[in-house]
């Protein structure tokens, strides 16, 4: 396998709350992205997926671990981060908020070029990026202000502003969740087309498993700062291994054929990550006594399961390891 485009090694990101407690938002993530793939990072709000995305683009700094792009570690000095940021771009959840209300569409798209001193042929590049993002004819949009655009058009402008720098990785944080359902598909189709046309790699952060089924090659499921399952989309959604993934999948209204397993409680608190398996307090296997029957209940309470290496893997004591022996 060729070297990955992006690699996260034992990444930890923490925040100090007002009351002094420390939130371990990202708590030991290892992840690889291959060139040209679409990876969906899914999980509930508060699981750390947005923090992970922001760390990848360099908006947050990890307390330990590293982000490696094409085998070079991300540096946080001015020069290193500027070169990296041209390569790694981000699209945010709320397209209305991510455009400065005082900037025209042209200025918003040209901003990246100006920051990186790519003034040459600016107008052609901006026009090209807008056209590729589905805003045609581009000249008609140059002088519009964000408030004159629909939500879908705004998100296209944001995407054009990121793609104009010809990045190798596009990190999209819930790129369609604030858009109307009928517009969503168009934006997803645009992202898919960008992958085919430019070879960009996409990490899409979402809570929506249907979206993952729509466009992702692979899925990584995140729970309380850790990736608990990953594999190809067909593997993870077709034969989920981790009880958390199974529960998530079962409550999606579109998956009619599963008995909904509604987990009790809300998404847990990253300032108080339980010992042992971080999921065991909400785990249906553990609660139903199934873990006891399998003889792993003690490990669920006391031992933090790690994510093994492999194509389709889950961090769960109940999942047989690769040799096929029960854990």
């Amino acid at each position: 396998m060729s070297a990955p485009l992006l690699e996260l090694r034992d990444l930890h990101v923490q925040f100090r709350n007002r009351n002094g407690s420390i939130a371990r938002a990202v708590d030991g993530v290892d992840l690889q992205l291959a060139e040209g793939e679409v990876l969906a990072l899914v999980g509930e709000s508060g699981c750390g997926k947005t923090t992970l995305a922001r760390t990848i683009v360099g908006l947050e700094r990890p307390v330990s671990g590293e982000v490696r792009h094409r085998d070079a570690p991300l540096r946080y000095d001015r020069k290193g981060s500027k070169a990296y940021r041209r390569q790694v771009q981000m699209v945010f959840q709320d397209p209305s908020g991510s455009l400065n209300p005082r900037q025209t569409v042209y200025e918003a798209v040209a901003e990246g070029l100006r920051i990186h001193g790519l003034g040459e042929g600016e107008e052609e590049r901006v026009a090209g990026a807008l056209a590729r993002s589905g805003l045609r004819p581009p000249e008609r949009f140059f002088t519009r202000y964000p408030y004159e655009l629909s939500g879908g058009q705004r998100q296209r402008v944001v995407i054009a502003g990121a793609m104009v720098l010809e990045p190798s990785l596009l990190v999209a944080d819930e790129p369609v969740s604030s858009l109307d359902a009928s517009v969503r598909g168009e934006i997803l189709a645009l992202m898919q087309r960008l992958v085919q046309e430019t070879g960009v790699t996409i990490l899409v952060v979402t809570h929506d498993l249907g979206l993952a089924w729509n466009i992702a090659d692979r899925i990584a499921v995140m729970y309380l700062g850790r990736i608990v399952e990953q594999g190809t989309t067909e593997q993870v959604l077709g034969a989920p291994q981790h009880p958390y993934t199974r529960a998530l999948l079962s409550v999606v209204p579109e998956s009619h054929n599963m008995d909904p397993q509604i987990l009790v409680g809300e998404a847990p608190d990253p300032t108080r990550i339980p010992p042992g398996c971080r999921f065991h307090l909400r785990c249906p296997l553990y609660a139903s006594g199934e873990a006891e029957r399998l003889g792993i209940a003690d490990r669920c309470q006391g031992e933090d399961p790690t994510l093994p290496a492999g194509e389709h893997v889950a961090a769960c004591h109940a999942v047989p390891d690769r040799e096929g022996a029960p854990a």
């Binding site: 940021r85 901003e111 002088t143």
Partner: protein, 305 residues
């Protein structure tokens, strides 16, 4: 950038659009009756200050040139505003006094706004220890009562026009600093600032492109609201005898009216004009300031979705 056909040049069109936005702000302002009234009053006083030499002879300010006039002549006998105890024309003092009052008001305000904006932006944008230090300093200035500090400063620096401006400037920036900092903190959290940062923007770029344009309206409105405070401060200092003895301001007129016993003489024509002048100018600035605030502040307008 390649030179494209004129009508499609995006930058030029953007400028046209900006001009249009300005025009629409102006038309919004025109709809605000109170603001327009303030603007008219203000324009009249500014014209008076600018064209003072045409309206009254400056020499009339010196008592030596007014020996022919009787003291305490009422306006009916010495139009338009009568004379003071030394026989000087009140009108001349009023006209020339507007110059000093407005000049001190504007200059001190610019000083205060510059200090306040720099402190507020630095504290809000960079945060951390710098913010802590700057905000403690701001609070320190804020809690010290204005008058004793100004009196002490004026006494130390000595009475001159420049020092009056300095004293008022360095005592009236803290509220601006706090206001600007709060606004910078909100703008800083906008997603478009994150987007720009993710594009690779430096702090300077963020400041110039996103932070400052979004606080400019607030700064302007705040300026208009600080001028009347500065004018009142000048009046206070001049009335207390800490003003520039060589220049007539409205505050100084009030002081002299008091010293010369205009009240006991019932020479209302000496203390009413400067009093009303101050009142009108302060009112006008406040009206314009609030109108500007509403027109320029996107939060109050609700265009920023």
């Amino acid at each position: 950038m390649s030179v494209a056909a004129a009508p499609t040049d995006p930058r030029r069109i953007a400028w046209t659009r900006r001009r249009r936005a300005l025009a629409s702000a102006w038309s919004d302002l025109r709809k605000d009756k109170a603001g327009m009234a303030g603007l008219i009053i203000l324009t009249l006083f500014i014209l008076m200050a600018v064209f003072a030499p045409l309206l009254a002879d400056k020499d009339g300010l010196r008592a030596i040139n007014s020996l022919d006039n009787d003291p305490w002549l009422p306006p009916s006998e010495f139009p338009p505003m009568g004379t003071d105890a030394l026989g000087r024309s009140v009108w001349t003092q009023f006209v020339w006094g507007s110059r000093i009052s407005l000049l001190v008001g504007f200059a001190a305000t610019i000083l205060a706004i510059v200090i306040g904006t720099v402190v507020g932006v630095a504290a809000g944008f960079y945060g951390g220890r710098l913010e802590g230090v700057l905000m403690r300093l701001t609070e320190w200035f804020l809690v010290i009562p204005f008058l004793p500090l100004a009196i002490a400063l004026a006494a130390v620096l000595g009475p001159s026009l420049r020092n009056i401006i300095l004293v008022i400037g360095i005592t009236s920036w803290p509220s601006t600093a706090r206001l600007i900092r709060a606004q910078v903190l909100t703008v800083k959290q906008r997603l478009y600032v994150d987007r720009s940062r993710a594009l690779g923007a430096s702090d300077g770029h963020l400041m110039a492109r996103h932070i400052l344009p979004n606080i400019a309206g607030l700064v302007l409105a705040n300026t208009t609201l600080t001028v009347p405070v500065a004018i009142l401060s000048e009046t206070t200092l001049a009335f207390l005898g800490l003003g520039d003895p060589t220049n007539a301001s409205w505050g100084k007129m009030l002081e002299e009216a008091f010293q010369q016993g205009a009240l006991t003489e019932q020479a209302w024509w000496y203390y009413i004009p400067p009093g009303v002048g101050i009142l009108l100018v302060v009112l006008a600035f406040t009206l314009v300031g609030h109108a500007l605030e509403e027109v320029l502040d996107p939060r109050l307008r609700g265009i920023e979705e």
